[in-house]
């Protein structure tokens, strides 16, 4: 992935053809959204563990970008979109929190997080999935066909492990590690200080690795 090497914004510009000046603004916006939509959906899905909610979040982010920032310099879209998406995810999370609080008050409490509803395990990830995840992480270079099922379980376990992280840690990890944003860009996307980003990211990496270590023993 070239993003961390030449910079996130520049990489997006290059991929959607903006740096070459070959697209008009509508085509460029379409190309930009096409380029980021899958990863945006995955981020939203990891945060919500709900397909429809994730799609709603991505749609909201796309619409906001298109309505309010389409006329901005195309090079600004990437950081703006990341920020809009992060805000939409945080808004969803706040609404869920409020709903859970209301449920608790109403005596209909459901203390489990969304992932827990989809899995039987008390921590939201089954033991088998976690073993598969550990296996995947250790041997991802080995692509033997017999590992296909194991890999699928590993993927689900990874989603679950990420979903279990506190939302700020989760977003910091995904933006820094996966999207390749710098600390500064991540801080802008998350609307927090760079120090907070470093803390969230470090804790996220530690928590994920520790969880794997626990299951390795």
């Amino acid at each position: 992935v070239l993003i961390p090497v030449i910079g996130f914004k520049e990489a997006i510009d290059h991929r959607v053809g903006l740096s070459e000046g070959v697209l008009d603004s509508t085509q460029a916006l379409n190309a930009f959204l096409a380029d980021v939509e899958r990863r945006a959906y995955r981020r939203a899905l990891i945060a919500t563990a709900n397909r429809e909610d994730a799609l709603d979040i991505v749609q909201e982010a796309m619409m906001r970008l298109a309505r309010h920032y389409a006329d901005r310099d195309a090079g600004d879209w990437a950081p703006l979109f990341q920020r809009i998406l992060s805000n939409a995810i945080m808004d969803w999370h706040r609404r869920q929190k409020a709903r859970r609080a209301w449920d608790r008050i109403a005596g209909l409490a459901s203390f489990k997080r969304p992932t827990s509803e989809a899995n039987d395990g008390s921590d939201g990830i089954s033991e088998e999935d976690m073993v598969a995840l550990k296996h995947y992480v250790e041997n991802n270079a080995n692509d033997a066909p017999s590992r296909e099922l194991m890999n699928e379980r590993a993927m689900q376990a990874l989603d679950g492990a990420l979903n279990m992280l506190p939302i700020r840690q989760q977003q910091a990890f995904l933006l820094r590690a996966w999207e390749g944003l710098s600390v500064e860009e991540t801080a802008h996307a998350m609307n927090c200080s760079q120090g907070s980003v470093k803390t969230h990211y470090s804790r996220a990496v530690h928590a994920l690795r520790e969880r794997l270590e626990d299951h390795r023993q």
Binding site: L29, L33, A34, M62, A66, A70, Y136, V137, M155
Partner: protein
Amino acid sequence: MSKHDGQEERFISSVNKALDKRADDMDSNTLNRLAQMRRCAVQSTQKNSTSVIRTPYWFVSAGAAAVLVVATSIVYFSWYSPQQDQNRIAVIEDINMLSAPDELELYEDLEFFQWLTDEEGVG
């Protein structure tokens, strides 16, 4: 680079590969939904660009008010035209006449005498 950093880097690299794979292996239904949402978003910018030159709300309101004033004026002046005023006065006179049954005979006699005078004038 320390051993710890190297392990962390490998760990993150593995997680990234897994996440990339999940993003690449998306089902067609989800991809279609995403494409549809993208088209809607892009179309919304086109609507917005036309809305830049759209008629402002105050202009519509002012236009509606002007039309109302003109319509009211037309109705007013057509209703209160001088000819209609005369007709209305004549109608009122007839009503006065009809509402006074005692004098109806007198009015009929007056009409007779007027006719008689006209006849004599012709003769």
